[in-house]
Subunit: 394 residues, 2 copies
C-alpha cells in the first residue's frame, strides 16, 4: 500500500494545521467597519492646540483573542473604553504604545513619517510582553482610514501635525499572572502644535545616577508602559532642583543613555585635529530604538562630510562629557524624539557643578541641532522627497 | 503694636494652609455609599473556585483628584470601568496593586492577615510612581464593608479564602508623561481555594540570568504593574524547557533574588557543626517586601531555637547553592507569597544540570516548609492568636 500510516498522519497534521490557521484571523484593514460621529467637532485654532489633551472625533479599535485572532477593525466615535476591573492591563502592565505624526503637505495630502519603523517597534514591544503581533502595513492602512474621517482636523502649517497613538493592552479578565489571551489594539489621534512655539528653548538636565531607567535583561528598549511611570518621580525631583529633565546614567561607568523620554546626542570636537564626532548610545537592549534617532544617524552619515565628522554609536560617560567640556571640546548636545524632533541642551547638573553646553550666539541651540531639525522637517512636510520615509496615507 | 506684620503673615499662611487642607479631602470610610446588587449570585461550591477568575457581587471604588483629594467611596455591583482611552494607566504604567486574603474563622468571623502591612506597601508603591497615598486604616475599614456585602460568598474551610485585590490606577485623560492628577482606587474580591488542592506539589525552577527582574534604582521592591508583564516571556521560555518558574538571578555574582512572583527561602545545614541556616535575600530595593516573607522571618526567629538555627537576610548566589548541594548541605527551598503561602522547590536548572533539593521521604516538601505553612495557617484561620496579625473585619 502506498498510503501508509505515516502518510495519513502527515495529511491529518497538515489539515489540522490549516484548520488552525483559518481560525486564527490576521489583522485585515479591508474589513474595517466605520461608524461616523453624529456631532463632528469644530477644528481648534492652531494656537489652542495642546499636546495629547484633545483628540479627533474618531478612534480605531480592534479586538484580539488567542482563540480567534484579530477581529473586525472598527472606526467609531472617540469614547471611553469599558473594561472589566480584573483586566490584565490594570494589574500587570500589559500595555505598549507607539507615537507618530501625520503631516499636511503643501498640496493637502496627509503623510506619515516612516510609520513602518513604528510598526516594527510595536511588534518588538508586543513580543516582549506576550501580546499579539500585527501586520504593520494593515495598521498603517487603518490609521490612514482613521485620519480620512477627521482629515479636516489635521492642522496646517510648519510644526503642526496630527499625533497618532497606537496602543495595545491586555484585556484578559483574570488575576493570574500569565500571557493575556485577549487584547485590544486602539489608535487615538491628537492635533498638536510645535513643541517649541517660539523657536528652540534649550533645557537644563540633571545627570541622574540614583535612579536607573533601564538595565540589561530588562525591557528599556521597548515602548512599554512599564518604562514610564517609574521615571516620573526622579523627573519631579530633578525639577525641584531646577532641572527640566533627567539625563539617565547607567552603571559604575556612568554611561549616558537617554534624556527624559528621548534619545540623546552629543557633539565633540577634537581640539588637535578639529574633527567632530556626533555620538549617541548604542542599541544594547537598554536604549529605546527611536525612529528620530535612526533618522538622524542616517541623515548625518549621508549629509556630513566624513573628512570632518565621525558618526558614532558607542558607550560614553558623563565623566567623558565633563572632561571634554573642561577642554573646550564639547560642542553641542540635544535630545531626539517624535514630539520635539530635537531638543537642545544647555546645561547638565553633575555632582557639585553644572556642565555648560555651548549654544550659538544669541540662539537656543547648536548649529547641527538646527540643521537636523530642518533636514527632518523638510522631509516631514514634503519639501524634500526621501525614498519611503514620507508615506501618503490620506 | 502686638499684631505686627510677621504675625499677620503667619496667620494668613496658617489660614491658607488650613484652607488647602480642607479642600484636599482625605479618604474617609464613613462616607461610603452602598448601592447593592439586585441579582445576588449563588455561592460556588468549593471545588469550583479558580484563583482570580470569578469575583464577588460588589466592588469598591474611590476617585481621587489632585485638586479635591479623595471623593466618596462607593460600594456597588461588580462591573466594568469606563475610562477615556488616553488615561495614563493605558500608556505609562501608572498602576499598582496589593493582594491579601480574608478568612472565615471557626466562629464565622471574617479576618484579614496583617492588612496594615499591605497598606504600608500600597503607600510605598503609590509614592514611587506619584500616585496618591491613603490612610491605610480607612481602606481596611472599606474592605471590611465590602466583605460584609458579600459575606456569604467567603468560602469555608482550611485553605479557602476571599482574595482581595486593592488596585490604584492613574486616570488623567492626557498623553503628556507626568504625575497623574486623577486616580482611581478600586478593590475587587475573588473567592479562592487552596493553591495546592491535593497537598503540596514541589516545583522545578530555571535559574534565570538572561532576563533580569529588577535593578538597583528601579522599582522591583514595589508592587507595580511594571514589574510583572516583562517577566512573563522568560516564564514561558522556562516552561518550554520544563521548568514551572524562574529563579531570578542578579548581577555577575548570580545572586538569588526571587522566584516567579514570590520571595524565596533556602535552608542550609553546616555538615561540620550541624547548625542550620534559613536564608532569604535582603531588602536592598530590588526585592519585593513580601508580607509572607516578613511573617516567616518573624515566626522563624521566634519559634526556631537559636542554638540550632541562624535566620539570615543576606546575599547568596546560585553558585553557593550548587556548592552546598554538592556537599549535601542543601536541606530545602521554598517560595513564599500570599497566594500559596509557601511553595516547595524540588529542582533548579542551572547550566548543564539540575540542582536537586531534598524533600521529605514520600512527601512534596521539606520539614520546615511544612511547619511554616502550619504556623501561618493557624494564625490565618484563628486557631492561634498572635498580636494584631489577624484582624476581624466582618
Amino acid at each position: 500500500m502506498l498510503r501508509g500510516t505515516s502518510q495519513l498522519r502527515l495529511s491529518s497534521r497538515l489539515f489540522s494545521s490549516c484548520a488552525v490557521r483559518k481560525m486564527i484571523a490576521p489583522l485585515d484593514a479591508s474589513k474595517v467597519q466605520i461608524n461616523k460621529t453624529k456631532s463632528p467637532s469644530k477644528p481648534k485654532s492652531n494656537n489652542e492646540l495642546e499636546f495629547g489633551k484633545t483628540f479627533t472625533d474618531h478612534m480605531l479599535t480592534v479586538e484580539w483573542t488567542e482563540k480567534n485572532g484579530w477581529g473586525t477593525p472598527e472606526i467609531k466615535p472617540y469614547g471611553n473604553l469599558s473594561l472589566d476591573p480584573s483586566c490584565s492591563v490594570f494589574h500587570y502592565g500589559f500595555e505598549l504604545f507607539e507615537g507618530l505624526k501625520a503631516y499636511r503637505t503643501p498640496d493637502n495630502q496627509i503623510t506619515m513619517f516612516r510609520p513602518d519603523k513604528n510598526m516594527e517597534r510595536l511588534n518588538k514591544s508586543a513580543a516582549r510582553i506576550c501580546l499579539p503581533t500585527v501586520n504593520g502595513e494593515e495598521v498603517i492602512k487603518l490609521m490612514g482610514k482613521l485620519i480620512e474621517q477627521d482629515k479636516y482636523l489635521v492642522p496646517e502649517g510648519q510644526g503642526y501635525a496630527l499625533y497618532l497613538r497606537p496602543t495595545m493592552i491586555g484585556t484578559t479578565p483574570a488575576l493570574g499572572v500569565s500571557a493575556p489571551d485577549r487584547a485590544l489594539l486602539f489608535v487615538i489621534a491628537s492635533p498638536v502644535g510645535p513643541y517649541y512655539k517660539t523657536g528652540f528653548k534649550a533645557v537644563r538636565l540633571e545627570a541622574t545616577d540614583y535612579a536607573t531607567r533601564a538595565w540589561p535583561g530588562g525591557c528599556g528598549d521597548k515602548k512599554l508602559g512599564a518604562n514610564y511611570a517609574p521615571c516620573v518621580l526622579p523627573q519631579k525631583q530633578a525639577a525641584e532642583r531646577g532641572y527640566q529633565q533627567n539625563l539617565w546614567l547607567f552603571g559604575p561607568e556612568k554611561y549616558i543613555t537617554e534624556v527624559g523620554t528621548m534619545n540623546v546626542f552629543f557633539v565633540f570636537k577634537d581640539s588637535k585635529t578639529g574633527k567632530k564626532e556626533l555620538v549617541t548610545a548604542p542599541l544594547d537592549g537598554t536604549i529605546l530604538e527611536g525612529v528620530t534617532r535612526d533618522s538622524i544617524l542616517s541623515l548625518a552619515r549621508e549629509k556630513l562630510s566624513s573628512d570632518e565628522w565621525t558618526i558614532s554609536e558607542r558607550y560614553f560617560s558623563i565623566t567623558e562629557v565633563a572632561e571634554k567640556a573642561a577642554k573646550g571640546e564639547l560642542v553641542e548636545a540635544f535630545g531626539a524624539g517624535t514630539a520635539a524632533v530635537v531638543s537642545p541642551i544647555k546645561e547638565i547638573g553633575w555632582g557639585e557643578k553644572d556642565i555648560h553646553v555651548p549654544l550659538q550666539p544669541g540662539k537656543q541651540s547648536g548649529a547641527l541641532t538646527e540643521d537636523i531639525a530642518k533636514w527632518i522637517a523638510d522631509i516631514q512636510y514634503g519639501k524634500e522627497k526621501r525614498g519611503n520615509w514620507s508615506r501618503v496615507v490620506a
